[in-house]
Symmetry: C2
Subunit: 425 residues, 2 copies
């Protein structure tokens, strides 16, 4: 029976029972965390071999085109550019391979555009208004970059095929202050949606009012499939080249959730002209990235198909966690009409939508009982979820046992918050 169909008395009765369950859980003193998209220790173990890929016996004269231990090679070594290019479907020559954080590359590109513009355009800091389109719910750290630089964020609704392209086409073509859009096209954060071919084609065909408009194509989960049978986002480079729009995108990828979250490699893929523009400014900031770590990755993934085989091991570890959370949600609240959630085929998150006006309360209840969730609202620009209903669930890090407890408690919190909300009405 749906909560909405229950009488006040029935709801109060449910509430009492739930409060008891909640208190019993809280009394156990759990400290569980479903807040961040972190690999579990077991996943990190999958890359133990990476740590042995380079050691004191390595023949550095033969290992790469330069001595990776010394200065030089601003754009990274060929082997690293090849891996990242392979992930993105972009030739190595169109990839710059850098250090461990793709977020840092995105931040640096925005920072550079603020002070210098892009390819000689007016520095964004000199403009009255700079806007980024933000498909939402989306990735909080993308939005934080905008907030940090005073870039106005325009929320664009997300659907299963990607963001609202009508709205994007309209805004991008009519407003010169729209300089960028954040996209996580394969397994969007937090829904796990995959942009459809039509969406990608429409992105590639955009006619921006601003010459320095860029699509920030953050392909963070490009090969992070949970199932063999999965959708695949179309290649943005090919689409943009075909549309005669080769410079409109920057694509990003990293091995943070492939090898080590704290010590992977990351890179940016782009057109020849963009790569030249980027190299010109990163020259001023450093002599070279950490090429030894790049070599580790090049060696660890030297064999064809090894990257994909490695990702299947990840899937083997985290697929059961996704399925367990979805199973518990179905079992606990599936029939109650108080929430829906996504069933991603890959990526790192499940997106939960509760009744309007319950998200903050759910997160608060969970926290008080020892389960940390991503802050409600974090998935929206300015941390403002207009309906206060979206919660991001990150199932990868906790152990199966912890995750079971966390998901059970989460379900209790959803029920409690929903009843509170319904009783208010």
């Amino acid at each position: 029976m749906k909560y909405v169909d229950m009488s006040r008395e029935q709801l109060l009765e449910q509430q009492e029972a739930l409060k008891a369950e909640y208190s019993a859980f809280a009394a156990k003193g759990h400290k569980l965390d479903m807040s961040r998209g972190k690999p579990s220790p077991e996943q990190l173990e999958l890359s133990a071999g990476l740590l042995d890929a380079v050691d004191s016996s390595t023949d550095f004269a033969a290992a790469a085109e330069v001595d990776v231990r010394n200065y030089g090679g601003l754009e990274g070594i060929e082997g690293a550019r090849r891996i990242l290019g392979h992930m993105m479907g972009i030739p190595a020559s169109n990839v710059i391979a850098l250090n461990n954080s793709s977020l840092k590359i995105m931040y640096d590109l925005v920072a550079h555009a603020m002070t210098h513009g892009i390819m000689g355009s007016t520095p964004w800091a000199k403009l009255d208004t700079v806007k980024f389109l933000c498909p939402s719910p989306g990735y909080d750290r993308h939005f934080s970059v905008c907030e940090h630089f005073g870039i106005e964020m325009v929320t664009v609704p997300m659907g299963e095929d990607g963001p609202d392209m009508d709205m994007i086409e309209e805004l991008v073509s009519s407003d010169e202050s729209v300089k960028g859009i954040w996209c996580v096209p394969q397994y969007s954060n937090p829904q796990g949606y995959v942009y459809s071919d039509e969406t990608v084609a429409r992105f590639a065909a955009l006619k921006p009012a601003a010459s320095d408009f860029r699509i920030f194509w953050d392909n963070a989960y490009v090969i992070h499939h949970l199932y063999e049978d999965h959708p695949t986002v179309a290649n943005i480079k090919d689409a943009c080249d075909a549309a005669g729009n080769p410079d409109i995108y920057y694509e990003f990828a990293s091995t943070s959730k492939i090898t080590f979250a704290g010590a992977g490699i990351s890179g940016v893929g782009a057109s020849d002209a963009n790569i030249a523009d980027i190299k010109k400014f990163i020259f001023f900031s450093m002599i070279c990235p950490d090429k030894i770590n790049q070599l580790r990755h090049a060696i660890f993934f030297a064999e064809e198909g090894s990257l994909e085989a490695h990702m299947r091991k990840h899937a083997g570890l985290i697929r059961p966690k996704f399925e367990m959370v979805e199973g518990i949600l179905s079992e606990q609240i599936g029939e109650l009409g108080i929430g829906t959630w996504t069933s991603p085929r890959g990526g790192y998150f499940i997106c939960f939508d509760g009744l309007p006006g319950t998200a903050k309360r759910i997160v608060e209840l969970a926290a008080d009982a020892g389960v940390k969730m991503t802050g409600a609202g974090a998935m929206y620009p300015y941390k403002r979820d207009p309906e206060d209903k979206t919660i991001r669930i990150a199932p990868t890090y906790p152990s199966v046992e912890d995750l079971r407890n966390a998901a059970e408690l989460f379900s209790i919190c959803v029920k409690l918050a929903s009843i509170e909300k319904l009783l208010e009405a």
Copy 2:
């Protein structure tokens, strides 16, 4: 006999003999490089053990306060902060340990000041004029950062005790647009001078007109001694704290020339208030630095005194190179009155001053005969050496045999260029 005392005929006679020597050298088809401060392959071998410090058998639960393989720890791990702090004479808690490039940290701090100011000051990009003082000859990559951001560079003369403090005190206290100064206080690049205690005390006691003035104290060679008997620069943190000026400096250090030039760790040391200000903005740019590489360094240098012992091995390899270059210069041109050079007790460079108007020609002659030198002028703001006389010699990278050839040829080029200049007069 000094060239200046020679008759025209004597000079022409010398020139003829030198031209023959030069041609004979050029005919050998050498490709030698005394241009950049790179460690030699033998120096890189000294840190081979670093590559084995972390491997698949490492117990990550016990190795550091966090699992270095995963996300987290924006300011770096304790072990890395301790090493960098030890080098700088700053507590670990006042150090942020980041990735491989201290230049990148400096660049990011300037970039951030451009868009956000420092501790809430007006963003530098919003000011009509921003100036940095540039003790010169100095490090070309410092000057490039200024040039990139359109920061006006003011040349300050360098002496054996450091830069001209009278001039600095005057400019810093009277001109609010003076926002920074580049310093390499221990073994200055390129002279190898060590700032005197008085210089450091006067830096610490500066009374800047601008609240967001910072001393960029790039202590790149802080422990890079060639001799046991060496001068040591005073501790800038202690001096600034004592002078009641705790926020006036940022100090930088890295292991680029200790372990691997392309894969070391680096960090910034500063007051509590500066560290808080820096952490606040780097939060927006990344989740964490590469903590596995930090752990490698923490393990490799865990034993007290190991860092110093390691540096003595470097000195053992490069001191003979410095001494050979100085020896050849003395032998070849010591009596000719056409050049002087520094005799550093540490660092990576020897600074050569030829007759005014000869530096470009010397570098050109050397290049044409197969010996690459740092571009003449590079050690000055805007690459403009006012007297065209300074050349940076980087003796570390070439083999002893190559270096001998390069130094011999360099001496020939100095003599040739000097004679050309004297014959012009």
